[in-house]
């Protein structure tokens, strides 16, 4: 199974009176995310399932990926919010029993996605993966057992290496 971790695009800065959950993609963020999505589509990337964090900037990013035909299925997962836990997500994930050939994409936040990738690949988080906004990580999960520390990294890219 292939797992793709995608960081939301460039969003409004934090400001007093603006709830973090409602920070929106900026015009630039929307444009660049759309360019990335179109490029991924040209490269033949497709997801069977696209899960997004419930925060607006991630929802908007997932919607753009969906509009660019990268996935027909889109759903929200509270585990992908900034305070989400990979262990809770993995409990949920195991119950889904996705077929082995599933291509699964998660749209969310930093530092979470980089941490999750490191935990899946090396078993622990050391903050050594540099994931830019609208960047993507690709991880091959093992066929059996827990994926923690058992997965392989096959892709890590920033938008600038796609566009």
């Amino acid at each position: 199974m292939e797992l793709y971790l995608i960081r939301h695009g460039i969003a409004q800065e934090r400001e007093i009176g603006l709830a973090d959950e409602t920070r929106s993609l900026t015009d630039k963020g929307r444009d660049k995310t759309r360019q990335v999505a179109q490029r991924l589509s040209e490269l033949g990337v497709r997801f069977d399932v696209l899960l997004t964090s419930p925060l607006l900037r991630s929802q908007q990013t997932a919607k753009i990926l969906h509009d660019c035909k990268l996935s027909q299925n889109i759903a929200e997962s509270a585990h992908l919010a900034p305070d989400g836990s990979i262990h809770d997500w993995l409990d949920w994930f195991k119950k889904q029993q996705y077929p082995q050939q599933t291509q699964l994409a998660l749209v969310g936040h930093q530092p979470n996605l980089g941490q999750w990738a490191e935990i899946l690949v090396w078993g622990e988080d050391r903050a050594k993966l540099f994931l830019k906004k609208a960047g993507i990580i690709g991880i091959a999960l093992p066929e059996t057992d827990s994926p923690i520390g058992q997965s392989q990294l096959f892709w890590l890219t920033a938008p600038k290496f796609l566009l």
Copy 2:
């Protein structure tokens, strides 16, 4: 400083009577490596120094990168051969005292390049990085101290995510 680790393109299979050092890129390997090099050039990737393993398939790969104007400087490093050691290479590297903004590319072999990347980023090799032929790894080295376990991974891609 940015360090790029590039695996040679598709080469002749091993066969009795053919020394490993003289295995050449195949026509397909040459074509795909040239496409990757042209794409890297379009993306604005440039190297100040390009070092290659002395084995023919790496020399040929480095020559293609050079012909596509990715680097004006090309040199051989015996440390990049399949039996080379990252520690010997780091001893050599420290003596060069490259300026901090140097973009340095190494053309070589698997499993070495993936192992070197993991040693630089995580301090040890666990064979968790998937580097395809003509694929590329990008690592940001720290400004001070030894880069072992202190570097950051910012890029890992196979040709299929570039072409």
